[in-house]
Symmetry: C2
Subunit: 455 residues, 2 copies
């Protein structure tokens, strides 16, 4: 049997792990510094908790876990006889793998509502699983890094998320632009063109503007029943030019008579004003009316981060989020407004890898390999490796008295930058010869100074 | 619908997360400092990769993942008609959740054998899932922290694992004893009593000595066909007294004529000698012939860590491991000797919680809540929270101009130790009043000094 792993999943060896951990360390530290609290939920939830939360397509992509033992015990005869997999499914599976972090978060908040202090700010970094068709940049196991606050309508949290997005990508040194829009502006536009009930059709079509262009968006809208007058108005709105404030001012005039528009305009203006007043060095923020985001639970501001870095070929969305007025209602706790963003760890790590370039990877954290000369020198070698480790520096001792060439080759293959050599002379003098494998330079230092030399 | 989570799984809220992360930070740092490299493997593997590796009982406890889409498409008519769940299983599931980290590690090593440099030292910290009956200290989702080296027979790695076990528990301040034994000693004893082919029966019985006592162990052995002469010799061996060296010397005499015994004695003596020579401050090591460890793939030294701490009621095993001569043979790569230990994160965190005592938990990492007085003071409040965060200190700003009592209550409920207050006077003076919520003390400091005051 030749071993392999399921398609859409990956092993992360040391080099990938160093890159990924660099990213996770940054987001964890930023989330924590902004006052968010860590949360982890189980890898699997009851199937009933997840079903119906992601639309019909989403339901199909949820990985279901077979009940343990005789899973057919409660299976209906009819479902079996008819090979009716849809009917059989809930009879043989009551658990499923987490599909995102948002639904488990909502479930947790509802279960813990009497213990939690609101607004509750939490971050959560865990893998999620989707039975999607694997392709470049799309995996069946991937990690989401979510940061959300629930239980407040304050727009200061929209500002906070803009600050968090900016700090993370600035620390990672990835050039980005933060696209910003507001669901109530889209609702206002739908009203304006006389199709308040077609908000979803409108947002789905507008969402594709970037990819398919205005003409095809209009064709799609026409197909959905928008008339020529409506299309004209949509076109006017999408073609608004100027900076964020100018676009918003123009939109304010256009949407003045609608029910939803003015709130959207006011909130968007407030968020942009807060971004100015915050004094923070934020990444470029672009008010973009064509940003719609598919998820239907958003009701206020929506965010999306796109790579805008000359060193990267990626242009895809690598983070996104928004405000939702009723996330926990599905579990019986209404009127909890929240806002959050999610960082797509896997795509971001792909971008980091591309920007760093080939050969830039960290292959090991170990700084020095202590050469093993055999029994006579072993006590001293053990003392070297112990002393270096005690000083907080990662070190290794070659496990046997192999030829020097082999031991040096081991350090070299692993990317360990230094070797420490101690034969009779060094031992007598309480010294160690430290050799830099890249430059070939070597020097004798006191045993106590090895750690500082290789750090 | 009242939301809940599957039995045997847990949510980890902030307090649990801080405790768990303290543990994970320690093991990660120690693993890395000893030259081990990080690895992560997918949550699910092909069912065929896992099946047959954990015995029949283990196979039953593996969580299987239902195939996506019409999972009945390839189901056999016979299996369906007969409700034959065993036969149906491989027809509707080809993936399963990770049951431990050892088999995925072996699978990874075989797949990457031409890319890896041996000896390959790796650590892996990930959850595993078992459909076990949940009970105190036993969960269906739990985290294993494994550290292994593969591709060398050097006993220096046994020493390294003793050092790692010691450092981790010393850093965590948990009193432990490391039990040590060697499979070849058990094999020697089996030979000695004339039942070399009954090594498994012998080890399984001896493994229970701690729990059920010598008499019941002997009864079990008798039942398995060991005769009275054999029982007498087993009893003699199990009753050897003295310190580690004395016990080993006595055992050396007893097992001198066996095929396996002398190697076991020599290796055990070497490991104990290395522990002495290492100069490391190791935790107490107890050579314990009754330590058997169930897993059949161990072939050399075996380790187990037991809590021995007056502040803890736990006496159970919290870590364990050993040497295996042929872990990757199952995947077609023979003769790869390795040795490793696994830390049981969930039990260790239970011990940490017990030792810390009630009320000792960290509820938040946030050090200060900046009070929100409303629009007029908002710019200054934003400046305070920004400045504190820029100094690397976790800080929060209350999201609206609520009553002071409410804002203080929020800080108090979350366990945030300080509040920062800045009204007109402070703003005019470029100052901030910082109040310690525990002591009630408050002082005016320059805005730039808030971070240092609350750190």
């Amino acid at each position: 049997m030749k071993p392999s792993i399921p398609s859409g999943t990956r092993d992360f060896g040391p080099a990938e792990m160093y890159r990924r951990n660099r990213f996770f360390d940054v987001v964890r530290e930023v989330f924590s510094r902004y006052g968010y609290q860590p949360l982890e939920t189980p890898a699997f939830e009851y199937l009933a908790t997840l079903t119906g939360k992601y639309g019909d397509e989403g339901d199909k992509l949820i990985f279901k876990i077979l009940n343990s033992g005789d899973f057919l015990a409660d299976a209906g005869a009819e479902a079996l006889a008819n090979r009716d997999h849809k009917k059989l499914l809930p009879q043989i599976c009551d658990k499923a793998l987490r599909y995102d972090l948002t639904v488990p978060f909502a479930r947790y908040v509802v279960m813990q509502q009497h213990q939690l202090t609101f607004p509750f700010k939490r971050w959560q970094i865990q893998p999620v699983w989707r039975a999607d068709r694997p392709q470049k940049g799309r995996y069946r196991e991937f990690v989401q890094c979510d940061v959300d606050v629930i239980g407040s309508k304050s727009l200061l949290y929209e500002l906070e998320l803009l600050q968090i997005l900016s700090e993370v990508f600035q620390q990672l040194d990835v050039g980005i632009v933060i696209k910003l829009n507001h669901r109530k502006l889209l609702a206002g536009i739908a009203e304006l063109v006389g199709s308040a009930d077609k908000l979803i059709d409108l947002t789905v079509a507008i969402d594709k503007l970037d990819k398919i262009g205005l003409e095809k968006v209009e064709a799609e809208l026409k197909e959905k029943g928008f008339d020529d007058a409506a299309l004209l108005r949509v076109r006017e709105v999408l073609r608004l030019t100027g900076d964020n404030d100018q676009k918003l001012a123009a939109l304010g005039r256009v949407l003045a008579g609608t029910a939803s528009g003015p709130t959207g305009v006011a909130e968007m203006a407030e968020v942009l004003a807060l971004a100015q007043r915050s004094g923070s060095r934020l990444c470029p923020i672009e008010f973009d009316l064509s940003l719609a985001r598919g998820l239907s639970y958003y009701t206020g501001a929506i965010f999306e981060v796109k790579v805008q870095d000359p060193r990267s070929t990626f242009t895809s969305s690598i983070s996104g989020g928004g405000r939702y007025d009723d996330l926990t209602g599905i579990f019986g706790l209404p009127d909890m407004s929240g806002v959050g963003v999610s960082f797509g760890a896997d795509r971001i790590c792909d971008v980091l890898a591309e920007i760093a370039g080939a050969g830039a990877e960290t292959k090991t954290a170990t700084r020095v390999l202590v050469v093993n000369f055999g029994a006579a020198e072993l006590d001293y070698a053990l003392r070297i490796v112990r002393t270096v480790r005690q000083a907080g520096v990662a070190a290794d001792l070659y496990p046997e008295a192999a030829k020097l060439k082999k031991q040096f080759g081991y350090a070299d293959a692993l990317g360990i930058p230094y070797v420490a050599i101690a034969g009779g002379d060094e031992i007598a003098a309480g010294q160690v010869t430290v050799k830099n494998l890249k430059t070939g330079e070597q020097q004798k230092v006191a045993l106590a100074d090895v750690a500082a030399t290789v750090r």
